[in-house]
Symmetry: C2
Subunit: 232 residues, 2 copies
DNA sequence: AAGGGACCATTCCTATAGGATTTGTCTATG
DNA sequence: CATAGACAAATCCTATAGGAATGGTCCCTT
């Protein structure tokens, strides 16, 4: 694979304003998000550099940023690895954290949400409905993307940069769990109904109702996952 | 300044297991925490490398990690800058986020806290009492360090890696605000009493009481800051 | 056959070099 | 005097080279 370098850019065009490390970061993030990089797999610096046809320097920078998201972990002198699979306890912790953060986001977003924001949320829910739910990940990739988009939009619309930062610290892990938590997409209809309920509460303008709807959604996600999860 | 390189290490001694980028990260973090780097100041990659007597490569890696904490911000092709000073709105947002996260940490920590943890918390409160509170930052630096230590200990003892991650996403900012929020250390006695109340609640073993004590503390910090803050 | 040590390939880590971009200054011109 | 353009210095960004550590393999010894 060949990434566009800042050198071989048409001279007249507006400057890209994005350096190679940014491209590498986004590329690696995509690999992590859509499951191309499985938990526990080694992410070689030199290897990734060869794969992306860049030097190791920007790869190091991208991985250093990714480490802080918890998606990859570094061991000094040994390199980076994709974070290991979720245990049942990890999942419980993640849901607890989501319960602490996401209802607050919904409550904050409720009082400052704009019609454009509501439209974007409606589109996310609609994408959830229309997305395929096949067994292989390429088939429900769009479903996961819409789910993540819905929750992230609410975090952004909280208007609180720190709540967004807190959610982002979880967001990647949430997405990773959706992929490898063993749940699959067996609960799409119920999940869509819950998303719709959150959306309706936000549209109604009642902050506490929005928070309650979000808390209810996370609670039910947890309950379904516990019911579905394979014994370990 | 000269950092110890992995090359000039005594051959017989146990391996350091820490690379230069880690040293640089910790050094820069210390500079940010104790105010040596003021908000808005440029953090030159090459300059920092010369200052620390290392090559720019590990400095780039350290700054890439720091960027994700919100302490520094990067503009492509222009470099890194220390995040700008807090506005009154930033402060309100930060307190809102702390209210969402820290009481939950206290509640979770309460039911799994060990005698050793309690001892460490008592020591932090004791350090708060004995630390000098002079006007210049070198004089109340230890006070701030003990404050941060207290809150971080509770986040760690929540036993929830994601709540800790969420707090850490805030932690640096909390520390930065303490330095540049204009509050100074005018409320040490009251703050110490509140910390003691949190500690007592944790020791009592009542989770809801611990959460309430922490929420009360954050509320009062906010109230005092708003009362003291200079008009902007 | 099992365990230990030497060797080699791979990978990480740091330094260095040079191209590309930005920024500050200085001069010339309207 | 203000403004535009050119030059120079500083800085960022990427690639490359080589030292250092790790992991695996092979061979030897017990």
């Amino acid at each position: 694979m060949k990434l566009a370098s800042s050198r071989d850019r048409a001279p007249g065009r507006p400057v890209s304003r994005q350096v190679l490390a940014d491209h590498v970061y986004e590329e690696l993030l995509a690999w992590l998000m859509d499951g191309r990089l499985e938990p526990g797999a080694a992410v070689s610096i030199d290897g990734t550099a060869r794969e992306l046809d860049v030097s190791p320097t920007p790869v190091r920078e991208a991985l250093a940023r990714l480490e802080h998201t918890g998606m990859v972990r570094r061991v000094a002198l040994k390199g980076y690895r994709v974070a290991p699979v979720f245990t049942r306890e990890d999942f419980a912790e993640l849901m607890e954290a989501r319960l602490a953060i996401e209802p607050v986001n919904a409550r904050l977003a409720c009082s400052r949400i704009t019609p454009e924001d509501l439209a974007a949320l409606r589109e996310a829910v609609k994408d959830l409905e229309t997305a395929p739910r096949g067994p292989s990940f390429v088939e429900f990739r769009d479903y996961l993307e819409a789910d993540e988009r819905f929750h992230k939009l609410i975090a952004e619309q909280s208007g609180n940069q720190f709540m967004l930062a807190a959610y982002s610290a979880l967001g990647g892990q949430v997405q990773r769990f959706r992929l490898f938590g063993g749940v699959g997409i067996t609960d799409a209809d119920q999940a869509i109904a819950e998303h719709q309920a959150v959306l309706d509460a936000l549209a109604s303008g009642d902050p506490e109702q929005a928070a309650a709807a979000m808390a209810d959604h996370v609670h039910k996600v947890r309950a379904r996952a516990i019911a579905d999860a394979p014994a370990d």
